[in-house]
């Protein structure tokens, strides 16, 4: 395993990751009809080069343990119920992040009859992460900035 660990250490050094302000935020991902691009990039956002967890952002296995619901895809009719169930299972306060252009309602492809409509008509979107798909770095940055802004907005209020 030593060669693997050396490679990983090299990656970390090369990326020169800063720590930033730590927090404790659990994310739950729901694929609502994505092309799998956002999933690939979200997966890499937790890999050593980007390491989302250094900010205290971790992916939770269940919506019951999640603060943020990360939704990808154009929302197919067949995923609408499952998405709603996942959202309803989350403890409050809860946030929704639209991950990728499909979840943001841009350039959606498909047959109208198979799509349940815009995500923002179904759930309130708090954080928008544009891109097709957004790169791992962009996912991390948008999440951090979005969380910061929400926090500032809350304290201002």
């Amino acid at each position: 395993m030593f060669a693997l660990l050396r490679q990983l250490a090299h990656t970390r050094a090369e990326a020169g990751l800063s720590r930033g302000r730590p927090r404790s935020v659990a994310l739950r991902h729901v694929d609502a009809g994505s092309c799998n691009g956002c999933e690939h990039e979200l997966g890499l956002a937790t890999s050593p080069r980007y390491d989302l967890e250094r900010f205290g952002l971790e992916i939770a296995a269940s919506p019951r343990h999640a603060d943020v619901l990360l939704v990808t895809g154009p929302l197919t009719t067949r995923m609408a119920t499952a998405l709603r169930t996942a959202y309803d299972a989350m403890p409050e306060p809860r946030l929704v992040a639209a991950l990728g252009d499909c979840a943001l309602g841009c350039g959606i492809l498909g047959d109208r009859a198979e799509l349940a409509g815009a995500l923002e008509d179904v759930l309130p979107i708090d954080i928008r992460i544009p891109g097709c798909p957004p790169a791992p770095q962009a996912i991390a940055e948008h999440l951090l900035v979005g969380l910061d802004e929400l926090e500032r907005g809350l304290t201002r209020r």
């Binding site: 092309c35 997966g43 492809l109």
Partner: protein
């Protein structure tokens, strides 16, 4: 390509005769009230057959070709065709409430049902699995997919061939190049266009870049399946490096918008080719070193042998394809029969050390294919690649068909054209062909080993659901 029309009463005999002559089933789709299938000869030559439904029904061929099971069920669910003799014709794309309408019936003392999904615990695509278990053992498993069905094939209809490309290309990010090239080649087949050398080289290069990052991803995902964090993280990092090379050489991490219909969409100049070749050479050394570590990681290797076995007979019967089939001793690779690409006569598919058809063989085969892809890319990037184009070589036909080897196996694209518009697009990807084989390979295994077995096939949901 043109169809050979066969009357319903002759359908089964004609298909049986084709199969006896060595042809294999490559996919079926409904168009209006007709059923169409594609057969492939051992040398890769394809034939399209069509059969008009009589009172909405076509005789089934599922007993002759079990690989046609999903195709016929989809033909029923999406296009309303009946298949005489396909009993029971369980729902596949449709999602009826009643379990018996879609599930394999399993009964007996101590049999439990375990329902998983459509939302899974990790960051993966949506789909539902229904397991029947006794204790920890899986008796049977039914994948219930199509939660991500976007109706892409239907939405493509009525568009010009150039405008419809995006429906094939965006069906799946991880197979974007394969699906785009298959679609473009199908249209070019219909329009009688032949690619020049540059276009053949450029598309081959893109397909191998796609295979590279996918295989790196899949090896990492398999490590995750046994909880080997160093392997998972090392191969995730290698995959990211491959995708960053994609971005530099082609402008996109998933190689989106690098394929066009009838012409090239990506030119690689000498500097870009040289830079990519250098970066890939470094990646190759690190990937080889990382792979050697996995080969000697006892706690990983101990979990792989004899798990999720797909034997040769079953692989052939169910029409498994790609690494899953090759690891099971079926030495087929569409790259050996791709005159529209640039693999050359010397290309031979990687073979597993032992065709045991288990998780170990699928993992080891991917590592061998990774090395082969890097070797191919090294040769292709020696010189710059102009975008290339096509020239008219044959009169246009209303049908075009193409098969391309994706990281997960043979992908078929069929395009029907009329008055310059796409009237039907059908995409049958390597993943689509392999899902029934995965369900079969899971039987008899421990339920907690399913994630590992699943990762060893690493099939897409997005391009299956479309």
């Amino acid at each position: 390509m043109s169809f050979r029309a066969i009357a319903a009463e002759r359908w089964r005999d004609e298909v049986a005769a084709e199969l006896a002559g060595g042809a294999r089933f490559a996919g079926g789709w409904a168009s209006g009230t007709e059923w169409r299938i594609v057969l492939v000869d051992p040398d890769g030559a394809m034939r399209a057959l069509r059969c008009a439904a009589v009172e909405g029904r076509v005789p089934t061929i599922v007993d002759l070709v079990p690989a046609a099971d999903w195709d016929e069920r989809e033909g029923h669910d999406l296009h309303g065709l009946g298949f005489e003799g396909h009993e029971p014709l369980r729902a596949l794309v449709a999602h009826p409430q009643a379990a018996e309408a879609w599930m394999t019936p399993v009964d007996g003392d101590g049999v439990h049902e375990v329902a998983v999904g459509p939302i899974h615990a990790g960051v993966i695509e949506s789909g539902h699995f229904r397991f029947h278990t006794i204790g920890e053992r899986i008796l049977a498993m039914d994948p219930r997919l199509f939660y991500k069905h976007r109706g892409l094939e239907r939405a493509a209809e009525g568009n010009s061939p150039a405008d419809a490309l995006v429906y094939a290309g965006r069906a799946c990010a991880a197979c974007a190049v394969t699906n785009s090239v298959a679609y473009a080649q199908a249209v070019e087949d219909a329009l009688g266009l032949a690619p020049d050398r540059d276009l053949r080289v450029a598309r081959t290069l893109l397909l191998e870049l796609e295979r590279l990052y996918n295989h790196l991803h899949d090896i990492g995902a398999l490590c995750a399946g046994v909880g080997s964090a160093p392997g998972t993280m090392a191969f995730a990092t290698l995959k990211d490096r491959a995708q960053r090379i994609n971005e530099r050489v082609a402008g996109h991490r998933f190689l989106f918008r690098t394929v066009a219909v009838g012409t090239g969409a990506l030119a690689i100049d000498a500097d870009a080719a040289d830079a990519a070749r250098g970066a890939l050479s470094e990646l190759r050394a690190d990937a080889a070193a990382a792979w050697r570590e996995l080969e000697f990681a006892g706690s990983l290797q101990a979990r792989l042998n004899g798990v999720g076995v797909l034997d040769t007979t079953t692989a052939l019967r169910l029409g498994a394809t790609g690494p899953a089939a090759r690891a099971a001793g079926v030495p087929r690779d569409t790259r050996t029969e791709s005159p529209r690409l640039w693999y050359g006569d010397s290309f031979t598919p990687a073979a597993p050390r032992a065709p045991t058809g288990d998780v170990a063989a699928r993992l080891q085969l991917r590592a061998a294919e990774l090395e082969a892809s890097l070797e191919l890319l090294d040769g292709l990037l020696i010189r710059p690649t102009p975008a290339g184009t096509t020239t008219t070589a044959a009169p246009p036909q209303p049908l075009g068909i193409a098969r391309v080897e994706s990281p997960r196996g043979a992908t078929l694209a069929a395009v029907e054209l009329a008055r310059g518009r796409v009237t039907r697009l059908h995409l049958r990807t390597g993943s689509y062909a392999n899902w029934p084989a995965l369900a079969h390979a899971a039987r008899g295994n421990l339920l907690p080993d399913f994630p590992l077995i699943n990762k060893s096939f690493e099939l897409c949901y997005a391009c299956v659901d479309r």
